[in-house]
């Protein structure tokens, strides 16, 4: 068991690409840390540097008290689960799990005991004699886990271990791995591109983009207080709606409102109190973030005040049973900053920014909603849960200008 510390660690390839840029991260003893980000953000490179499979170009990496920059992987006492599992095809499940112990010259009966323990925890006992190719995907995944846990290492490193499983199994294994980790209490670094995995499994989540750490926080904190547009847009599904808006102070009484196109949403006092920096923005354009969950069919929330509603034209209704996702256009400009454009590219570029004065927003409504395609719907907005970002720097607007200044 040990902490893992990145001290301004960078990875620079010979051609000059910076895969990871001065990464500062401390992973506590027994902590489950998830590195998440779109592909190519450097999360896997960071993990491989901890594993010793990738050289560290700059900075220092510590596991426990030891600086491991020049320690070969075999001496780092870490275990890794690969995306491909990398099970040794010519060895039985038993031998796959025992391989690391045999190398450490653990006595035979001790190996046997540990392998059988691991197998029973992972429900693999009856497959021990099989070869990996005769196992299902889920079983292979568990063998890979078994290979890691028998070693009782200082840290587990997992590189997208669930991405080759089907959706149902993934959900099951997600819970399994999280449970196993907390039972064993081994420091774990888990890499994924799936923000749901990140949110459900991690004690803390580190969001990365283009080789830089964006924010390191608990899942709830990431969701509630994203440090910038990227984190706001990346965490949460469906993604946060981002629209161009204008903050206005009402005369005299100290209350504020945002105008979205020709519509006005008045802001509650608590919101302004929680984000005092907003006061500097009155009369200026900013990017307003509305989570789909913060929208509701006003017809079902009769007590929603009239000044906290948005009128929208429904273009698509997706019924999910427990809720209904409604895609609707509002008369407002999309947030067309550089950051939003990059965010859309990161998501795969499927969405496009609408031309002219229309923006599509997504609302996650209660299943009783009667909103139908082609009709106009009144959406009640939970204005206390709105997010605001600086259109130039992309940073979230909270207490002071400097907060969380990572670009």
């Amino acid at each position: 068991m040990a902490e893992v510390r990145f001290d301004r660690v960078s990875k620079v390839y010979p051609d000059g690409t910076r895969a990871v840029s001065s990464m500062e991260l401390e992973i506590g003893d027994e902590e489950f840390m998830v590195l998440v980000g779109p592909s190519g953000c450097g999360k896997t490179t960071a993990l491989r540097m901890v594993a010793g499979l990738e050289e560290i170009s700059e900075g220092e990496l510590r596991i426990g008290e030891r600086v491991v920059n020049d320690v070969p992987s075999r001496d780092r006492d870490i275990a890794m689960v690969f995306q491909s599992y990398a099970l040794y095809p010519h060895l039985s499940v038993y031998e796959n799990i025992a391989f690391g112990l045999r190398l450490k010259k653990v006595p035979k009966d001790e190996i046997d005991r540990r392998v059988r323990d691991a197998a029973s925890v992972l429900d693999l006992t009856e497959w021990l004699k099989r070869k990996p190719r005769n196992l299902s995907g889920g079983q292979r995944q568990r063998v890979a886990m078994g290979r890691a846990i028998v070693r009782h290492p200082q840290a587990f490193l997992m590189d997208e271990p669930l991405s080759n499983l089907d959706a149902k199994l993934r959900v099951q294994m997600r819970a399994e791995i999280a449970r196993l980790q907390s039972d064993l209490g081994v420091t774990t670094i888990y890499v994924t591109h799936d923000q749901i995995e990140a949110m459900t499994m991690g004690d803390r989540v580190a969001v990365m983009r283009k080789g830089r750490l964006q924010q390191v926080a608990t899942p709830q904190e990431l969701y509630d207080r994203p440090v910038n547009l990227f984190v706001g847009g990346f965490i949460g599904s469906p993604a946060m709606n981002l629209v161009q808006a204008r903050l206005e102070a009402s005369d005299g009484d100290g209350s504020y409102a945002v105008t979205v196109g020709d519509q006005r949403l008045s802001l509650p006092q608590e919101l302004i109190a929680a984000r005092p920096a907003l006061r500097d923005w009155s009369g200026r354009e900013l990017v307003l973030g509305i989570r789909p969950e913060s929208l509701q069919d006003a017809a079902l929330a009769a007590d929603a005040p009239a000044d906290r509603r948005l009128r929208a034209h429904v273009t698509l209704r997706e019924a999910l049973g427990s809720e209904v996702d409604v895609h609707a256009t509002i008369a407002a400009r999309s947030a067309e900053t550089e950051h939003v454009r990059e965010l859309i590219e990161d998501r795969g570029g499927l969405e496009t920014l609408e031309e002219g004065g229309e923006t599509t927003i997504v609302g996650r409504l209660a299943p009783r909603t009667t909103a139908a395609e082609g009709e106009t719907v009144e959406l009640a907005v939970d204005t206390a849960a709105l997010h605001f970002f600086d259109p130039d720097s992309g940073l979230g607007i909270y207490a002071a200008q400097t907060e969380g200044a990572v670009s």
Partner: protein, 279 residues
């Protein structure tokens, strides 16, 4: 779907025809090897009137003009082939691995050199090679045969290994390293077993090349007790008379080990070639 239609009949017929064409020489070979000399000259292609194994025993013990018994030649062939294949695998696998995993320019150049080595006919260097072997004092020895074969076949073996190692994902080695294995250990215990199909291909291609080669043993060990089967067979070809029945019997003896190995390892042979084509 298994109905016996006209089409099936045609197909079956064509199988028989092709089979007959392919097997005809084999028939001649075996039939002749069982005939006495008189019988052979009288009716070369008919069934033996009086089948005899005498040819086999004569070929086995006495040998031809050189006087090397066939049993000795068989031993020489087996010895040379086994040693050459073993040395090739022991050297070419690590060499190919190093070439495939090192991404430096040097390793690309070395790889290119090996490819050139495949293309160049060894006969070009025959005279200097012969002189060199002589100066080493190895003329006519089994060791000279082994050295020459290893040198001639190494480029092919290295090329095959390097190509396959390039296609092998690094994950296995990395997993072994994280598990605590040294590079050498990871190579021997994890990587090499994964290369079994290509090791089979190298063994078959190179083993057959050595087994059936006539030229190199003729140049390097002719006239000694170290000749291999093809040269020994040739010694039955006399200046004036050739005992075809003896030659054919010795050919059957020379084929037998190859056939036995093939039957025993058929599965691996085919897999090796299939993987070879795909990779």
């Amino acid at each position: 779907m298994n109905r016996y239609t006209k089409l099936t009949a045609m197909r079956e017929l064509s199988f028989w025809v092709v089979g007959a064409i392919v097997l005809a020489p084999l028939y001649v070979l075996i039939v002749l090897s069982l005939k006495t000399k008189q019988d052979a000259t009288a009716s070369p292609f008919g069934l033996p009137t009086n089948p005899t194994f005498e040819n086999y025993t004569r070929a086995w013990s006495s040998g031809g003009a050189t006087g090397v018994p066939f049993s000795t030649a068989l031993f020489n062939s087996v010895f040379t082939t086994v040693v050459v294949v073993a040395v090739l695998i022991a050297l070419a696998a690590p060499a190919g691995y190093a070439i495939a995993r090192r991404t430096s320019r040097l390793s690309n150049w070395i790889f290119a050199l090996f490819v050139v080595g495949i293309i160049l006919p060894m006969q070009l260097g025959l005279v200097p090679l012969f002189v060199f072997v002589g100066r080493l004092g190895l003329s006519g020895t089994r060791l000279s045969l082994v050295l020459v074969y290893v040198g001639v076949l190494m480029p092919l073996a290295v090329f095959l290994y390097a190509t396959f190692f390039r296609a092998l994902p690094r994950d296995y080695e990395e997993a072994a390293e994280v598990d605590g294995a040294s590079h050498v250990r990871a190579f021997v215990q994890i990587v090499l077993p994964l290369m079994r199909p290509i090791t089979g291909t190298v063994a078959i291609l190179c083993g057959l090349a050595v087994w059936k080669d006539f030229f190199i043993p003729l140049v390097f060990v002719n006239g000694t007790d170290n000749v291999t089967l093809p040269v020994a067979i040739y010694s039955f070809v006399g200046q004036n008379v050739t005992d075809w029945n003896l030659i054919f019997a010795s050919i059957v003896i020379a084929m037998a080990p190859v056939l036995i190995v093939y039957v025993l390892m058929q599965r691996y042979v085919l897999r090796g070639f299939v993987t070879g084509v795909r990779g």
